[in-house]
Amino acid sequence: MTRRTNLWSVARALLLWVAALTVTLPLLWVALASFKSPAQLNDPGLVLFAPNLDNWARVLEAGVLDAAGRSAMVATITVAISVVAGSMGAYAISAYKTGGSATRFGILAAQVLPPAVLVFPFLTMAYALRLDTTYIPVIFAHLSFVLPVITWFLIGFFDAVPRSLEEQARVDGFSRFAAFRMVVLPQVLPGIGAAAIFGFTLSWNDMFYGLILAPTQETILPVAIAAFNTFRGVELGAMSAAIIIAVVPVVIASFFIQRRLVQGISGGAVKF
């Protein structure tokens, strides 16, 4: 028994190490590449070298930080709208049993539609409503896949909140909406956090809608990163620096939230 337990914990540690290395080594390679000169990039084994800051200078000059700021803005607005509308809708679906379970999954099906097909309707709408110089079209396009996912995520969380809380608050003198806002919503805050982070990831990573729908001259981060993939080759060094810029803040953030994230998800979301 003890020997078995030891064996398992050794295997477990080994597995985690392998997983950690698998995740980190490519990232480490990217980090190294961001400090290499073009000639040094041709040598994969090169680990010790005098770091070169040209790539970073180039990336900063190319406005990647601004692009990151714009992406963060688009993602934040998208997620904020999705969380407000999604939590209200999810509660209506969960508490009032609106729609069957198939509908709950059906919400997600539209997710598989190719952006290549949906982008032109968005573009037409943007032009028709003269919104093409704003971020509104990108935000709407991102809402098309973030809002359903967040709504769907939250239904499960609301399922786990006893109905009597809302009823109690209503008897205590509040309207249904006040009951929802003051009593029910606080119960699913961790879940909302989890859903928000996941939604943020989706918006943060999208390149295609951002490329077509974002205002000219105001690229968002994935477009800026992909722009280093030029016809005359991939500017690996600069792209690597841009990737680091895109990843580090989010990983630091996820370090602080992930415990809540996992607990948040445990609260519901995965029941249907």
């Binding site: 041709n42 509908t103 000219t216 477009v223 005359r232």
Partner: protein, 434 residues
């Protein structure tokens, strides 16, 4: 249960109705185009903003650097250049045409798009402007580049830069082996095989499916004496020459190209050559200065590269052309900039700075010859540009290139025989032409 579904249906129906009403807008790009003045010489006091969408490559950087000097002549014209990577730029450009509002006043057009854009009415005809521009010397442009800008006898663009291909090779390795630059396809195959050693490939190839493999292989096709189209414009891809070219291509790939390089494109091949892991490649002529740049990717190998035309003398030509969108909001100002940047005098400056050639006279200009890339280089470019042809003609260029590139890739991957692949390619091109 059903209430929500009804709600969804209702909102979808509403949206569909909305779609139908708005659909009138679809494809209306260019309809509201302001009439072109057709002016060639644009007055120096013209005011306006020229928004340009360009590819993010060094040639664009050179153009950006020249804007200040343009503004000395045209102080009232503001030039705003937006750069994007090739693939992104294309998608963005197509999208911008869907608007009735002008998004760009001047664009650069890749050769396969030219016929489709003209057919769609996206571009302004430039004959009148070109012919009435003083001292413009349009006959000085390399003819193959001009041909690309012409659709049914009307010019819709002026050349911006060429990306004609050629054979880039290491002179030290050729000297070491006592070999001369290949004159036939067989010699090419034999040379690259001979250059192959255990730690170096004879030739870095670019068999990535689609554009890349076709762009590379077509050079082999020309070297084998074949062609993509006959004189009447019908495809000639299932000829014995094509089969010989594809056989040779596959032989070289399996015997002289780097191991495990089936998805390689330009980037990998360039890195392989610049790092000394491959002895040669077939690629754009303007790569030579980059390869020979001591501060570039080649490091110590800089200076040992040379450029030659393909065996047989004919190669694939790509080109970018300046064109004015039909819905340009500032077409006069746009032409002012396009005509200025391509004028004989400014072209010299651009080429000296490293820009790819478009004018024959520029390459014999003393300033250019002294500028450091070397007379041999410019001589090779003249040779290359005098006999070069694009991959596609007519409508559906992009699709035609992808279709042929897919069949070639099948042959290299071994999923089709050479004959099957070429027959399918021929059929595909014929289908697209219809």
């Amino acid at each position: 249960m059903s209430t929500r579904r009804r709600g969804l249906l209702a909102s979808m129906g509403l949206a569909a109705a909305l779609a139908l009403t708005i659909s009138g807008c679809a494809g209306s790009g260019g309809v509201d185009a302001p009439d072109s003045s057709g002016l060639g010489d644009i007055p120096a006091d013209t005011e306006g903003t020229v928004r340009i969408l360009m590819e993010s490559v060094p040639d664009t950087d050179i153009v950006v650097d020249l804007v200040a000097s343009f503004n000395e002549t045209y102080p009232g014209i503001e030039v705003e250049i937006e750069t994007l990577a090739f693939d992104q730029m294309r998608d963005k450009l197509i999208a911008s045409f869907q608007s009735s509002e002008p998004a760009y006043d001047l664009i650069v057009v890749d050769n396969p798009w030219m016929d489709d854009f003209v057919d769609a009415g996206f571009l302004e005809p430039l004959d009148a402007r070109i012919d009435s521009t003083t001292d413009y010397q349009p006959e000085d442009f390399f003819q193959p580049l001009v041909d690309i800008t012409e659709v049914e006898g009307v010019r819709y663009g002026v050349p911006f830069y060429n990306y004609a291909l050629g054979y880039l090779y290491r002179t030290d390795l050729y000297d070491e082996a006592g070999m001369a630059v290949p004159n036939t396809l067989d010699e090419l195959v034999a040379n690259v095989q001979q250059l192959t050693t255990s730690d170096r490939a004879g030739i870095a190839m670019q068999p990535q499916r689609g554009y890349k493999i076709f762009e590379e292989w077509a050079n082999w096709l020309f070297a084998a004496g074949g062609s993509i189209y006959d004189e009447t414009g019908n495809p000639t891809l299932d000829t014995p020459e094509a089969a010989a070219a594809l056989d040779a291509y596959i032989e070289a790939f399996t015997t002289a190209a780097p191991a495990n390089s089936s998805n390689w494109a330009f980037d990998e091949a360039f890195r392989s050559v610049s790092s000394g892991q491959s002895a040669s490649m077939i690629s754009y002529n303007w790569n030579l200065p980059g390869l020979n740049d001591p501060d570039g990717a080649s490091g110590e190998l800089a200076g040992s590269f040379a450029l030659a035309p393909m065996p047989g003398g004919k190669q694939v030509l790509g080109s970018w052309s300046w064109a004015i969108p039909a819905n340009s909001a500032a077409s006069d100002a746009a032409w002012a900039f396009a005509a200025w940047i391509t004028s004989p005098a400014v072209d010299v400056e651009r080429v000296v700075a490293g820009g790819a050639a478009i004018r024959e006279s520029t390459l014999s200009n003393p300033t250019v010859l002294e500028s450091g890339f070397g007379e041999d280089y410019y001589a090779a470019i003249i040779a290359i540009l005098s006999d070069a042809a694009p991959l596609s003609q007519g409508l559906g260029g992009e699709e035609m290139i992808q279709a042929v590139g897919t069949e070639l890739s099948e042959a290299v991957a071994g999923t089709k025989t050479v004959e099957e692949a070429l027959a399918d390619a021929q059929a595909a091109v014929e289908r697209i032409q219809r």
